[in-house]
């Protein structure tokens, strides 16, 4: 039984390789092997969205992907969102609009919000709410998150 498999995944532009068990979830590779703990684990049934990352250009719940599946792929995590010291417009908008309290859902929420705006630069409030249906926040009641996404849409030229 081949217990470990070599993998190589580009995370935030940097190649990360290792030998992992086939059962390892991508979120654990990101957190444990790559040491990027901004990606969170909030549930075990793919509901909460705290583990959301960008996988080969579209969002994925990293708890529902095996590391081995993603070998050869490219991943962006929340740590890869800011451009050096310059925050991503969504990060800025989350900060401006008090769109986070405990912060645990925030990395996944920002990445889900980014996907909304990439598909639809000028979403309605309703479209934003629907676009966030796979991400649970227990602190904010979502309202300021929706506001933040609206503001980011304006900043990013949609709006």
């Amino acid at each position: 039984m081949k217990l470990k498999v070599p993998v190589e995944i580009t995370i935030n532009g940097k190649s990360c390789s290792g030998e992992v068990e086939p059962r390892q979830l991508l979120v654990h590779f990101i957190r444990e092997n790559a040491g990027l703990t901004g990606t969170k684990v909030g549930c075990d049934t793919s509901q909460c969205g705290t583990c959301t990352v960008v996988l080969d250009g579209s969002t994925a719940k990293a708890c529902t992907v095996l590391t081995v599946q993603a070998s050869g792929s490219s991943v962006t995590t929340i740590e890869g969102f800011a451009d050096g010291a310059n925050l991503h417009p969504l990060q800025e908008a989350f900060w401006n609009n008090h769109a986070l309290q405990c912060g645990f859902c925030t990395p996944g929420m920002i990445i889900a919000a980014d996907a909304i705006l990439r598909n639809n630069p000028s979403p309605t409030r309703e479209e934003i709410r629907q676009g966030l249906e796979g991400n649970i926040c227990r602190c904010t009641g979502y309202q300021n998150i929706v506001r933040a996404v609206e503001q980011a849409a304006e900043t990013m030229g949609g709006g």
Partner: protein, 784 residues
């Protein structure tokens, strides 16, 4: 010029690390040599353990140790209950960290595996063989209290942990004399707190020094240290508890759990750091839950709607064991609030705290007060319907008139200040209440089921005077302390004993310091969550952190200001009483050009080259604030719903919150607390509730079955506020963390019942899932 920083919605200072993924939560921490624990939990709600065989598990790859209750017995003391309410015949059955002979709920810890990786630990759990002898289980708290119910603990006959009564006036006489009485049975479902961060603990025992460090997802690290000492026997001064970034708690991270004790035990046995992190499914079994009330309630009134009496009998499910604060929740935090925003002259309530074969129940956001507010506000609506009055009119008739400094209610509390009519007026105006009622008439004419729900509330928070804490059996104080330390460059560290975990006090506390002595907000760093770095404090819960800990910060900063004045007087060669302060500058009255800034003072105090006779060097002060009374925020909320007559689905269309939490330091944060609180209070009305089957198996075991509010299920929440300062608080602050949760449950429940009133439906148990509503409508249409 004095309010630049205060009442300003400045951006939170904790956010940059959170939005960039750089914050460090407990499970993000990795220590050299760390190993991983996984806990085997009972699959039975109630069973005797005949035998446990761990030999196969011990031989699995990577396994370092397997421990059972036989190992922890004698090494770990039982888990203590820390709220021993008096005059209630309270029973405190033993609560071992790992069950040895008997399990009492699905989730009770049975064994722990420590392995090199978490995956290996999980693998090994499957190789532990436990032989159980299943016993009958009971979940419904009223059923559990009846003769013949399965018994959980030998020392708690009929599973009754306590019987607690509240009384004021003469309720029986009021009911005997009443023009009209109404009654209802209200159930508040068992709720899962669901902070997005699951609980986690890392224990690091260093045998050579006898020191235990515990990183823990705690709302109150100092209490965790205190109770770690009680359970592990490690002396308190040798324990350091660190609550790093904590991802929400909502009450569920107040208790001291078996899990952190087990993790500490493993580290102490093995001499290496041990991490334990629960999965979400495990959280649904092993993390304390909230509510679980069956409330049999009745109200007496005059024919013109004046409430004359309230009587309740409440069965409060406690789960299988007494959690840390459990007995206080359905009693002190519930029964004492029975007067709500009204003058109700005669009140009597009996609350039975009942063990059942469920996960232990403890504080959950609002803790006792949503349960109280729901029963009062529901009865007011039932009374209004009985009298044919508008529910708002009944409320107006009974509201306590405006008061600024103390109002006694018959349950024995003295509310601090209130203007309940004003918040009600504001919400009705904001909603366009009369237009809504007209719209509703029209909708009903079209066969549409539109409903409008209103609720007022008063909550008790700012817990609280320590003398009262002692009198009601809380095994601790409820004061807070702060140390404010100015560095030579004029920058400030503030160390507080409370432990915010999302509420934003790193910002609001900095605003307080900035407001008091004129430094920049960014010149102040708030340090919290580490018992080695911070002074004693009792934690963040009960909407108390800004109210109590913030007061301590204020008082400590005012001491700084006093010393600064004296030092400025010395440096300016004037008398202290002639020194004035404005905007960070100390100057001799009449000569503002000749001044010393707070930074000048900080430098001089720290270098101490030229100090007045007898003045100590340094610019540091500490304060302990023990509140003279609780604070009593209040408000009025309104919801508009429409029920689909074909499906029973409920559309929450509008929600308007008007809250008065006293003076607001950061209105943006206040509004955020209201939003989140409202969402959590709507949850149990529309979606949330734990369901067990008859054998005690939870059927809502994952997020696939337990429905939480999502972005697409909530409307925009319209928020307004009034300001009635607390007369006894140094800043006039009252607290806001739980307001939304307390008000929104009765508001939305009343709205749905209002929508269904034309069909003759008067009650449905929460959560109001579509099928339940549909069935009620079917029954009503069939004449049932």
């Amino acid at each position: 010029m004095t309010t630049r920083v205060f009442s300003s919605g400045i951006r939170r200072r904790e956010d940059p690390r959170l939005i960039t993924g750089r914050a460090s939560y407990t499970d993000d921490i990795k220590l050299p040599g760390m190993v991983y624990a996984a806990i085997l939990r009972s699959m039975y709600a109630h069973a005797n353990i005949r035998s446990i065989d761990t030999s196969a598990a011990a031989g699995q790859p990577g396994v370092i140790a397997v421990y059972t209750g036989a190992d922890t017995e004698g090494a770990l003391n039982g888990l203590p209950c820390a709220w021993l309410i008096p005059n209630s015949d309270l029973k405190t059955p033993a609560h071992p960290a790992i069950a040895k002979d008997r399990v009492r709920y699905v989730g009770d810890a049975v064994a722990v595996v420590v392995a090199e990786t978490r995956y290996q630990a999980e693998d090994a759990l499957e190789h532990i063989v436990v032989e159980y002898e299943p016993l009958d289980a009971v979940l419904n708290p009223k059923d559990a209290a009846q003769d013949g119910a399965p018994q959980l603990h030998d020392d708690a006959p009929n599973n009754v942990a306590f019987t607690w009564a509240v009384a004021g006036g003469d309720a029986d006489a009021a009911f005997a004399d009443a023009d009209v009485t109404v009654s209802d049975v209200i159930t508040l479902p068992r709720l899962i707190a669901n902070p997005m961060e699951p609980r986690s603990a890392i224990a690091q025992w260093v045998g050579a020094t006898g020191e235990l460090t515990l990183w823990n997802t705690s709302q109150n690290p100092h209490i965790a240290r205190f109770l770690t000492c009680v359970v592990t026997g490690v002396p308190e001064h040798k324990i350091r508890v660190i609550a790093p970034e904590v991802g929400g708690g909502f009450g569920s991270k107040i208790p001291y759990y078996p899990d952190e004790a087990i993790t500490a035990f493993c580290s102490m046995r093995l001499g290496v750091p041990v991490k334990w992190t629960e999965t979400r499914s495990e959280n649904y079994l092993a993390t304390t839950q909230g509510r679980d009330h069956i409330e049999e309630v009745e109200m007496a009134a005059t024919s013109d709607g004046k409430i004359t009496g309230l009587r309740t009998t409440v069965y409060a499910g406690l789960g299988a064991y007494l959690s840390t604060a459990a007995p206080g929740v359905p009693t002190i935090l519930h029964g004492l609030m029975y007067s709500g925003a009204y003058d109700i002259p005669n009140i009597s309530g009996t609350i039975y705290g009942v063990f059942n074969n469920g996960t232990p129940v403890d504080a959950y956001r609002g803790a006792g007060r949503p349960e109280a507010t729901t029963l009062i506000e529901r009865l007011v609506d039932v009374l209004a319907a009985e009298l044919g009055m508008d529910p708002v009119e009944v409320r107006r008739k009974n509201l306590i008139p405006k008061f600024e400094n103390g109002h006694d209610v018959v349950t024995g509390l003295t509310y601090d200040s209130g203007d309940y009519g004003a918040t009600l007026d504001t919400v009705l105006d904001a909603a366009g209440y009369s237009a809504l009622r007209e719209e509703q008439e029209q909708a009903r004419g079209e066969g549409r089921l539109m409903g409008v729900g209103v609720s007022t509330y008063v909550e008790i928070c700012g817990l609280g005077p320590s003398q009262v804490a002692g009198a009601v059996g809380f095994q601790g104080g409820l004061w807070e302390s702060a140390i404010v330390r100015f560095h030579p460059t004029g920058k400030v560290n503030v160390m507080v004993g409370s432990s915010p975990h999302g509420q934003g006090e790193e910002t609001t506390f900095a605003q307080i310091v900035a407001e008091e002595v004129g430094v920049g907000v960014d010149d102040v760093e708030i340090i919290h969550g580490d018992t080695d770095l911070t002074p004693m404090g009792w934690g963040t819960y009960g909407s108390r952190t800004t109210a109590v800990s913030g007061a301590a910060v204020t008082l400590a900063t005012r001491k700084i200001k006093d010393k600064s004045k004296a030092l400025a007087a010395h440096l300016l060669e004037a008398a202290t009483e002639d020194i004035e302060y404005e905007d960070g500058r100390f100057f001799v009255r009449g000569s503002p050009d000749q001044h010393k800034t707070i930074q000048d003072i900080a430098l001089m105090a720290n270098v101490a080259w030229d100090m007045p006779e007898g003045m100590e060097p340094g610019l540091e002060a500490s304060a302990f604030y023990d509140p003279p009374n609780f604070t009593y925020p209040f408000g009025a909320h309104l919801a508009v719903v429409e029920v689909d007559p074909a499906t029973g689905q409920i559309d929450l269309q509008r929600y308007i919150a008007v809250d008065d939490c006293g003076v607001q330091i950061n209105p943006m944060i206040v509004e955020g607390q209201v939003h989140g609180g409202v969402a959590q209070g709507v949850g149990p009305v529309l979606w949330e509730g734990v369901v067990y089957d008859e054998s005690g198996q939870p059927l809502t075991g994952t997020m696939l079955d337990y429905a939480l509010p999502r972005a697409d299920g909530l409307p925009d929440i319209e928020v307004q506020s009034n300001t009635t300062p607390s007369p006894h608080h140094p800043l006039g602050v009252k607290g806001v963390g739980e307001a939304g949760t307390i008000a929104s449950t009765p508001t939305v429940y009343n709205a749905v019942m209002d929508a269904l009133r034309p069909l003759g439906i008067t009650r449905i148990d929460m959560p109001l899932t579509p099928e339940k509503v549909w069935r009620a409508m079917q029954d009503a249409r069939n004449g049932g």
